[in-house]
């Protein structure tokens, strides 16, 4: 199984969820994060003082999927999260050794 971590623009969440649902990805966990990358934030002025906003608000999505679904999931995210503008985000794929559903104790792919 794979554990996919995607950092996306907040306003893209619904599209991404929709795309993943299409693949039958049954669940996900979403976290608010602040991102830093090529998109270097921007300058603001507060009470006459200019300052740099380094971090940009992003959403981090975590999805555990069966290995064979991983590529499809990644593509679905890329497709739905892209705006073409800098700061669209990144997807990271990690190996997932085990998954357990707390309610039933099911493990492995059944737990997803």
């Amino acid at each position: 199984m794979k554990f996919i971590i995607a950092v996306i623009k907040p306003q893209k969440l619904d599209d991404v969820r929709g795309a993943l649902n299409g693949l039958g990805v049954s669940g996900m966990t979403v976290t608010e994060v602040k991102g830093y990358g090529r998109q270097k934030g921007h300058k603001e002025v507060y009470r006459g003082a200019e300052y740099q906003v380094d971090f940009v608000p992003k959403l981090k999505i975590e999805i555990a999927v069966p290995s064979d679904q991983a590529d499809a999931a990644v593509n679905a995210i890329v497709g739905s999260a892209r705006s073409g503008a800098i700061g669209d985000g990144k997807i990271f794929v990690l190996d997932l050794l085990e998954a357990v559903r707390v309610r039933t104790g099911e493990t492995g792919v059944d737990a997803l």
Binding site: K34, V45, Y46, R47, G48, A49, Y51
Partner: protein, 482 residues
């Protein structure tokens, strides 16, 4: 009007003097008009009251002599005057909530509970100190004097009939003014000062420093007697005084950690701007009582007209301050800065406070508008000087206070108010004398505190936030901080 203004400093004196206002105005006025033989017997005073009312009324607008208008009865005038103090005092008291909200909104969340505590404490300490020391220091002073008696105040309505209002109502009204001055300090020094050291300073400020300088003018001390200094509701006596004390504190205390790190300014955005906006509206509301109540009398048609005109000028100056700050921040920074606009409202209000009665509306608008300019330009200047004023109290209260006091003679001068009217010279003397006194003493007190109890929390505590360190709680414990 002429008649009254002819009193020049004398009328000023009446404006705030404990035994001023109300009935006593009538004889004074009559006297002034009648080339000054004092009237002592109460009887004549009563007569004069009616007469003066008639005269005043007669001067309002262009109409045939209205001496026939019946004056309020003595009791009615007394109740009107007292009611003005009580109702005005209530909204001025509420300004404590305004400062609390403004400051809580402009500090970072980790210090919001502490600034609220300070605001509640400041108002409470001020009330107690004005009772224990302040009031008699201000109004117990002999005419032309430098220092009043150190004496606890007690309710005493003797002489209140001559004054034409309840002595208690006057005490209440004067007390809330002192609290206002102290509230100015808490905002400027927020986020880094030790709670108890701050409160000790506040006790000294409200019990001694403010009262002494106020006695010079509103107590009819030397400044009032010799220089005809005019400060209707306290641009200098209240707002600049608070501002000077804050400036001295800011210098001794130093900026917040990291504020000017690496020679650059690192803004620390306010954590709850809607709360700051609420605070500004509350202050604006309170200012009607602050300036309107400073007419000190409501028992005659002329006084009623004056209070109403003061409401208008006060409001227009604030409106102008807001619009000016909006336009300026838009032009300079390409974006309107809400926090500066809120300061702009206060800057406009402070600017008109020294003379809210005499200006015509367009003058009030210009006076307030320039207050907005001052605030907008001064905020970044202070940063350049590495003076860290968390809420912009120094530009709004000190600088605009000075501006408002200087501009008094524009509308209140010999040509509009006859000889004896305030002069630029007299105004400058007052500004300098009070500024020097308040700043110097405050500096000494801050330094004394610094080298004894210490005034600044430890750096790691400052990083953690005063709420956790001094109160052991959080203002918003459930909202995760970004």
């Amino acid at each position: 009007m002429r008649c009254k203004a002819a009193l020049g400093p004398m009328s000023e004196f009446n404006r705030r003097k404990g035994d001023g206002g109300g009935f006593s105005r009538a004889p004074v006025a009559a006297a002034a008009c009648g080339k000054g033989e004092a009237m002592k017997s109460k009887k004549t005073i009563w007569l004069a009251a009616g007469l003066a009312a008639a005269l005043f009324a007669g001067t309002a607008g262009a109409q045939e002599p209205t001496a026939e208008i019946e004056a309020a009865t003595q009791t009615s005038a007394y109740v009107f005057n007292t009611l003005l103090f009580l109702v005005s005092g209530m909204v001025v008291m509420f300004m404590a909530a305004g400062f609390c909200m403004l400051e809580a909104g402009l500090v970072r969340a980790k210090n919001a509970a502490t600034i609220c505590l300070k605001n509640v404490a400041v108002y409470s300490v001020a009330g107690l100190m004005v009772w224990l020391l302040g009031y008699n220091l201000i109004y117990g002073i002999e005419e032309g004097g430098f220092l009043g008696p150190f004496k606890v105040w007690g309710v005493d309505e003797a002489g209140s009939l001559e004054n034409g209002y309840s002595a208690s109502s006057d005490w209440y009204f004067q007390m809330v003014f002192v609290a206002t001055a102290a509230s100015i300090v808490s905002g400027a020094l927020a986020e880094r000062i030790k709670l108890w050291s701050f409160l000790i300073f506040v006790a000294i400020l409200t019990g001694v420093i403010y009262p002494i300088q106020a006695s010079w003018e509103w107590g009819a001390g030397w400044l009032d007697a010799q220089f005809g200094f005019a400060d209707f509701a306290g641009s200098t006596l209240v707002h600049s005084t608070g501002g000077w004390a804050a400036l001295a504190g800011a210098l001794v205390l130093g900026p917040r950690l990291g504020k000017y790190e690496g020679g650059r300014v690192h803004p620390m955005p306010g954590s709850n701007l809607p709360m700051a906006a609420l605070g500004t509206f509350i202050l604006w509301l309170g200012w009607f009582g602050f300036n309107g109540g400073s007419q000190l009398a409501l028992g005659t048609i002329e006084d009623a007209q004056s209070v109403a005109k003061i409401f208008i000028n006060t409001n227009m100056a604030a409106c102008a301050g807001v619009v000016t700050a909006m336009a300026l921040t838009q032009i300079i920074y390409k974006k309107v800065d809400l926090t500066v606009v809120l300061n702009g409202a206060i800057g406009g209000l402070v600017s008109i406070t020294a003379e809210p009665l005499m200006p015509m509306i367009w003058q009030a608008v210009l006076i307030g508008s320039f207050g907005g300019v001052i605030v907008t330009l001064a905020v970044p200047v202070l940063d350049r000087l590495k003076i860290d004023d968390v809420v912009g109290a120094i530009p709004a209260h000190l600088f605009c206070g000075i501006w408002g006091t200087i501009i008094v003679p524009w509308s209140n001068n010999a040509s509009t108010a006859g000889e004896g009217a305030p002069t630029l010279g007299g105004q400058l003397v007052g500004i300098l004398a009070i500024g020097a006194f308040v700043f110097a003493i405050s500096l000494l007190v801050w330094l004394a505190l610094k080298y004894t109890l210490g005034i600044r929390v430890a750096p790691e505590h400052e990083q953690l936030g005063l709420d956790k360190v001094e109160l052991g709680l959080e203002a918003y414990p459930e909202f995760s901080k970004g």
